[in-house]
């Protein structure tokens, strides 16, 4: 079965410090990967998605970047955090569209999330 791991679960960082959130998926290959951010009490905003190694698409201009160094690894980074970067970050994966899967076609499966507080 497929599983998704995301860490760290909680992070408190000072303004101007770097950031690295990591996400890995097990039990599947060539997944589509996503980073979403959820501000307090709000909906989910797609930040980045990746359809393959080294292929990153950004949805919104921001202080963050993403990388996919391996097939099942997705990293969210920042060189210098801003106060506005605080939030709840969720990694997710899906089977690429058109591929049959026991996990269910067209479904996003989420990690447990990382709560980032920038002070």
């Amino acid at each position: 079965s497929q599983t998704i791991h995301q860490w760290p679960a909680t992070l408190v960082q000072p303004v101007g410090s770097p950031l690295s959130l990591e996400c890995t998926v097990e039990g599947t290959s060539n997944p589509n990967l996503y980073w979403y951010r959820q501000a307090a009490g709000r909906g989910l905003q797609l930040l980045f998605y990746s359809v393959g190694i080294g292929q990153i698409s950004s949805e919104v201009p921001q202080n963050l970047s993403a990388s996919r160094p391996q097939d099942r690894q997705f990293i969210l980074s920042s060189k210098k955090l801003l106060l506005s970067d605080s939030g709840f970050y969720l990694c997710a994966w899906s089977v690429p569209p058109g591929v049959l899967s026991s996990s269910g076609a067209n479904v996003l499966t989420f990690g447990a999330g990382s709560r980032l507080t920038v002070l």
């Binding site: 998605y49 067209n106 499966t109």
Partner: protein
């Protein structure tokens, strides 16, 4: 661009009663998928139910069912026999069938309170 709107920021229901959460969406596409996700206090996003736009039959998963009105672009979630564990934030989401990215567009969410 597609948008998803949940007009009810908060809802409440008595335990064992039925509640309906509303969702509307805007799209020019004819083929797409719709989802309801649940986010309990743990903040883990859990898939509740999904609907393929080409299917006229409304999806059902145990106590959860949807009312999919394609012409009206409406996708409401009905929770029957509400339980305390149903208390959570619920998100409606849209995915284009023609996209190779598989990304979901989410509504702003509805917080459901279940009263004992």
């Amino acid at each position: 661009a597609q948008t998803v709107t949940q007009s009810q920021p908060e809802m409440s229901v008595q335990e064992a009663e039925t509640v309906t959460l509303s969702c509307t969406y805007d799209t020019s596409e004819s083929d797409y998928y719709l989802f309801w996700y649940k986010q309990p206090p743990s903040r883990q996003m859990i898939l509740v139910i999904r609907q393929e736009a080409y299917k006229q039959q409304n999806a059902t998963e145990n106590r959860f069912s949807v009312n999919f009105q394609k012409a009206a672009k409406s996708f409401s979630l009905k929770i029957s026999d509400s339980q305390l564990g149903d208390a959570a934030m619920y998100f409606c989401a849209y995915r284009s069938a023609g996209s190779n990215t598989g990304k979901l567009i989410f509504g702003q969410g509805t917080t459901l309170q279940v009263k004992p």
